[in-house]
C-alpha cells in the first residue's frame, strides 16, 4: 500500500504522462530499437542497437532492456528509466535469443552458430561464462527462481534444460519440428515451444520433463505472449498472417484471428495486443479479448521484436 502511495506521488510529480506501457521493438533493417508509447500510439525514442538487432528482453528487475544484434555480435543495453543506451557487450558470433533471469541478475544469450548460451552479469555487463547446448540455440527463458533456464535447440527439435548454478545443460525434452520461440507460464510449470516447421506448439509439463500436448496453430508460429492473467497465450503465425489464441487452462486453440502481414513479435499491454509486422514495418494493435483491430503504429525497417519487449512501468500495471 505504502509503495503504491509513493508511486502515485511520483506519478503526480513528474512522469505520469509517460507511465504507460512502452514497447521496445527491434528493427533489423534499420539497426535500431523503436520505443513505442502504447497508449499514445507513437514512437517516443529511436535507439541505435548494433547491426541487425533481433532479440530483446525487457527486465523490470534489472531496470534494463537487453537487445541482441547478430550481425555485429553485440548486446546493446538500454536503461529503462532514461530510455538511453548505457552499454554494449561483445557476445559470441551470432547472438539471437536472449533472456534475463527474473531476479534481474543474469543475461543469457543464445549464440546461434557456436551452440552455446553465453551468460553475462546484468549489472556490470561482465561475461560470466558459457554453457554448451544443442544445435542452433534460439529462444530462451528462465525459471521464476532464476536457477534454471530453457533453450530451444532448434536443429535438434528439442528444448535444453540449463542448470544456471552448475552452468551445464542437464537435460533435453523432445518437442516439435524446428522450435524457435519459447515462453514459460508465470508459475514456472508449463513451457511452450513454438515449432516453425510442424506448425504447432508443444506444451511441456516441466515436472514430468515431457511434452504433454501438441496444439496445431497456423503456418510458422514465431512469437508468443501471455495475457496478464495467464489464461491466454497469443501465438503469431508468421506465414499465416494470423494469431492463434490458446486457452492455457484447457490447452486448446480457441480462436484464430487475422493479423498484420508476416507477424513476428507479440506482446500484451492490459487489454491491448501488439503484433509486429516484419513485412509492413509496423505494429498492429488489437483488442486482446476480441481480436478487433485498433489501428497500427509505423516502426523502423524489418521489425522483429523477438522476446519480451513490453515494459510496463509499475504505475501502469
Amino acid at each position: 500500500m505504502r509503495r503504491f502511495a509513493v508511486l502515485l506521488a511520483l506519478c503526480a510529480a513528474a512522469t505520469c504522462a509517460s507511465a504507460g506501457p512502452l514497447a521496445y521493438i527491434t528493427n533489423q533493417g534499420s539497426h535500431e530499437v523503436t520505443v513505442v508509447d502504447v497508449d499514445a500510439s507513437t514512437i517516443v525514442a529511436r535507439l541505435p542497437a548494433g547491426k541487425s538487432p533481433a532479440g530483446v528482453w525487457v527486465s523490470e528487475a534489472a531496470g534494463k532492456a537487453f537487445v541482441s544484434a547478430p550481425d555485429s555480435a553485440t548486446i546493446t543495453v538500454i536503461d529503462l528509466a532514461s530510455r538511453a543506451v548505457v552499454g554494449e557487450m561483445k557476445a559470441g558470433r551470432s547472438p539471437v535469443g536472449i533472456t534475463v533471469t527474473p531476479d534481474g541478475r543474469r543475461v543469457l544469450v543464445a549464440d546461434w552458430f557456436s551452440h552455446r548460451v553465453l551468460v553475462f552479469d546484468a549489472a556490470s555487463h561482465a561475461a560470466l561464462g558459457e554453457i554448451a547446448v544443442g544445435n542452433a540455440p534460439a529462444g530462451l527463458v528462465a525459471s521464476p527462481d532464476s536457477r534454471t533456464a530453457y533453450v530451444a535447440n532448434r536443429d535438434d527439435n528439442a528444448v535444453g534444460v540449463l542448470d544456471l548454478d552448475a552452468m551445464k545443460q542437464t537435460g533435453v525434452i523432445a518437442v516439435g519440428n524446428h522450435p524457435f520461440a519459447l515462453e514459460l507460464s508465470a508459475d514456472g510449470r508449463t513451457l511452450y515451444a513454438l515449432n516453425v516447421w510442424s506448425d504447432d506448439v508443444s506444451v511441456v509439463d516441466l515436472a514430468q520433463s515431457r511434452t504433454v500436448a501438441t496444439l496445431p496453430v497456423g503456418k510458422a508460429p514465431y512469437g508468443i505472449a501471455f495475457s496478464d492473467d495467464g489464461t491466454r497465450a497469443y501465438v503469431t503465425n508468421q506465414k499465416g498472417d494470423s494469431v492463434s489464441v490458446i486457452d492455457t487452462v484447457e490447452r486448446r486453440v480457441i480462436a484464430t484471428w487475422p493479423s498484420v502481414v508476416y507477424p513476428e513479435g507479440v506482446a500484451v499491454a492490459g487489454t491491448k495486443l501488439l503484433v509486429v509486422s516484419w513485412m509492413d514495418d509496423l505494429v498492429g494493435v488489437y483488442d486482446a479479448r476480441t481480436g478487433q483491430s485498433l489501428g497500427s503504429i509505423e516502426l523502423g525497417r524489418n521489425p522483429r521484436g523477438f522476446g519480451r519487449f513490453m515494459h510496463k512501468p509499475a504505475a501502469a500495471r
Binding site: Q28, S94, F113, K219, K239, Y262, W278, M279, N302
Partner: protein, 175 residues
C-alpha cells in the same frame, strides 16, 4: 597416421567454420503494389490460376504444374531468355483473394529460401489493389558474398520480377 588425423581435424575444423556461417545473412523482403482499373473478382480470376503466370508476367515463357492451383502443386516456370523457377503453392484463399508460394532454391533468381504472397484488395471506385510480397535470403549464404549473390542483387532481382509483373498485369487487365 598422425599426419592424417591432423589433416582430418583441420578439415573438420574448416567444415565446422563454414557451416557455422551457413545462416549468416539476414532475411530480406520486397513489396510492390499497383492499382488496376478492373474489379477484384476479375483480377483474382487472372492471378489465382497457378498454372498461367505466362498469361500476365512478361518474363515467363511457359509453365507446367503438378496439381493445378491446388495447395502443394509445384510449378516449373520457363523464363524468356533461359532459366527456370520451381515454386510450390503453399496456400490459396479465394475469400481473402490471397495465395502464397515458396521456393527453396531460387533457380534463376539469386535468392535462397524464398517465400511470396500475392493479394488482391478492393480499391476506390471499383478498382483493385494488387500487393505482392516476398521474403528471402540472398543466394550466397556464407559471409562476404560476391557481387551478384549479395543482399542487393537478391533485392533488385525480386523487386524487378514484381514490378514488371504488376505493370504488365495492369496492361493486360485494362485492355
Amino acid at each position: 597416421m598422425r599426419f592424417v588425423s591432423a589433416f582430418v581435424m583441420m578439415l573438420a575444423a574448416s567444415l565446422a567454420a563454414s557451416f557455422a556461417h551457413a545462416h549468416g545473412p539476414t532475411r530480406q523482403k520486397a513489396f510492390e503494389t499497383i492499382t488496376i482499373k478492373a474489379s477484384p473478382d476479375a483480377v483474382w480470376a487472372k492471378v489465382s490460376d497457378f498454372t498461367q503466370l505466362q498469361g500476365w508476367h512478361p518474363a515467363v515463357e511457359s509453365s507446367t504444374a503438378t496439381n493445378g492451383s491446388n495447395v502443394g502443386s509445384v510449378r516449373t516456370l520457363k523464363l524468356k531468355g533461359g532459366g527456370e523457377l520451381v515454386e510450390t503453392l503453399e496456400s490459396i484463399d479465394p475469400a481473402a483473394k490471397k495465395f502464397s508460394y515458396r521456393a527453396k532454391d531460387g533457380g534463376a533468381l539469386p535468392v535462397t529460401n524464398y517465400s511470396s504472397n500475392l493479394t488482391v484488395k478492393a480499391g476506390d471506385g471499383g478498382t483493385s489493389v494488387v500487393e505482392w510480397r516476398g521474403a528471402f535470403y540472398r543466394k550466397y549464404m556464407n559471409n562476404d558474398p560476391p557481387k551478384g549473390e549479395d543482399d542487393e542483387a537478391a533485392l533488385t532481382a525480386v523487386t524487378g520480377v514484381y514490378k514488371s509483373g504488376l505493370e504488365n498485369l495492369k496492361k493486360v487487365m485494362e485492355k
